[in-house]
């Protein structure tokens, strides 16, 4: 192993797991690894030494990673408060997204109210990644501990993987089926009796997104997908910077920033196209948006701070 890559590896472990882990665990491992390779007398022996060292390094990374992912007693309050922030913003986001349907509900009776309630899974799926961002900002702004940052990143990773998987299933399996059903129902007028509203196909329709509802050309699909990945990315980066700069106040600013356009965008949709409002998330391309927001939140929000990056001189 070259000297440069050994130091780079040590710096990375210090950034990721903290100075103590780098000094006590990874530095001796790498030093022994280097000496073993140097002592090997043939090319085959050197290759074997490299492989054994690499395997040991992977085992150590897994062991230290797992031990860092388990919350310690003193970290639990901070992790708990961040989880509370995420939950609060999840509820707030869901409420804001459902508010535009309230007049409809009051106006047209419980049938349309029921349809609005069927939107709950979609709105939850939309609000969850948004809620992760303020929580990540809060953790990033208050945490100066690389161990905690790593642990929180692991928790967020798990949440993000679950959310993205669920949204991908909705987009690729549920949406196309529901879209066909929706188009047929629109052609033959919407259901007006409770039995029809309770049919599973209608509930699936509420879960669906616009990608299958409005027929588009492949080029247009790709363009919309690219745009839906780009603009949240830019907003998220800017929002994250603002959140880091403003610390706790930044959480509120960021939340308002995210929820305001969502509320405005959804408010005019029911009034503009009553039937189309069954799919209000079409404006946002929910799955792509959520995936982009979540993964960017992970990448940006919990990067260990610069003052954690030092490695003791070897």
């Amino acid at each position: 192993m070259r000297q440069l890559s050994a130091h780079a590896l040590l710096r990375w472990t210090a950034r990721t797991f903290g100075d103590d882990a780098a000094t006590l665990v990874f530095e001796p491992l790498i030093a022994d690894w280097q000496q073993e390779r140097r002592a090997a007398c043939s090319r085959t022996a050197r290759a074997l030494a490299w492989l054994r060292g690499a395997a040991a390094l992977l085992c150590c990374l897994a062991a230290v990673g797992i031990s860092h992912a388990v919350p310690r007693a003193e970290d639990r309050p901070r992790v708990g408060r961040s989880a509370a922030v995420a939950f609060a913003f999840l509820l707030l986001g869901t409420a804001v997204l459902l508010v535009p349907f309230l007049p409809w509900w009051l106006d047209r009776g419980w049938v349309f109210g029921r349809l609005a309630m069927d939107l709950l899974p979609t709105t939850l799926g939309f609000a969850w990644p948004l809620a992760l961002v303020p929580a990540a900002v809060r953790l990033g702004a208050t945490s100066r501990d690389a161990r905690l940052a790593w642990r929180a990143r692991a928790i967020l990773l798990l949440a993000a993987a679950g959310t993205t998987a669920a949204l991908t299933i909705v987009d690729t399996v549920v949406a196309p089926v529901a879209a066909r059903d929706f188009q047929q129902r629109v052609r033959h007028s919407l259901p007006t009796v409770p039995e029809a509203v309770n049919a599973p196909a209608v509930r699936l329709t509420a879960l669906s997104t616009s990608t299958g509802v409005v027929p588009r050309s492949p080029n247009e699909q790709r363009r919309r997908a690219a745009m839906s990945l780009l603009w949240p990315a830019a907003l998220l980066v800017l929002g994250w910077r603002a959140g880091r700069a403003l610390a706790r106040a930044g959480v509120v600013v960021l939340a308002v920033w995210w929820l305001l356009p969502a509320g405005i965008a959804l408010t005019f949709q029911p009034a503009a196209t009553p039937f189309g409002s069954l799919h209000p998330m079409q404006f946002f391309e929910t799955p792509e948006f959520s995936a982009a927001a979540v993964w960017l939140a992970i990448a940006m929000a919990l990067r260990p701070r610069g003052d954690q990056a030092g490695v003791r001189a070897a």
Partner: protein, 105 residues
């Protein structure tokens, strides 16, 4: 004194301490080679780091010869505390073994 306050010594930690008491100063890879398969290279460094945090081991970096490159190896020695803990556990084992043999007889 409650049980939770007793210094714990895992099987791997005990193997490491016994090796160090037998051979003196060792570095991680040498311990793995001397342990006849009882220590694994993928976990020994994590255990050594934990033992150092617990105050069971002291370590120093091996001085590099002039002109040598690379990171210096870390050599480990057991602390007095570790020797006392190991002795206490050995004594406890002897007492327990004696008690069990008396009970079974």
């Amino acid at each position: 004194m409650t049980t939770s306050r007793l210094p714990r010594l895992s099987a791997t930690e005990r193997v490491i301490l016994e090796l160090l008491l037998e051979h003196g100063e060792l570095f991680g890879l040498a311990m793995v080679e001397a342990s006849d398969g009882r220590l694994k290279r993928g976990t020994v460094y994590v255990t050594l780091g934990r033992m150092e945090e617990k105050g069971f081991l002291d370590s120093r970096q091996e001085p590099l010869p002039p002109g040598a490159t690379g990171l210096p190896r870390r050599l480990y020695t057991p602390t007095g505390h570790a020797r006392q803990v190991l002795a206490a556990w050995r004594a406890a084992e002897r007492v327990m073994a004696g008690h069990l043999s008396t009970t079974e007889a």
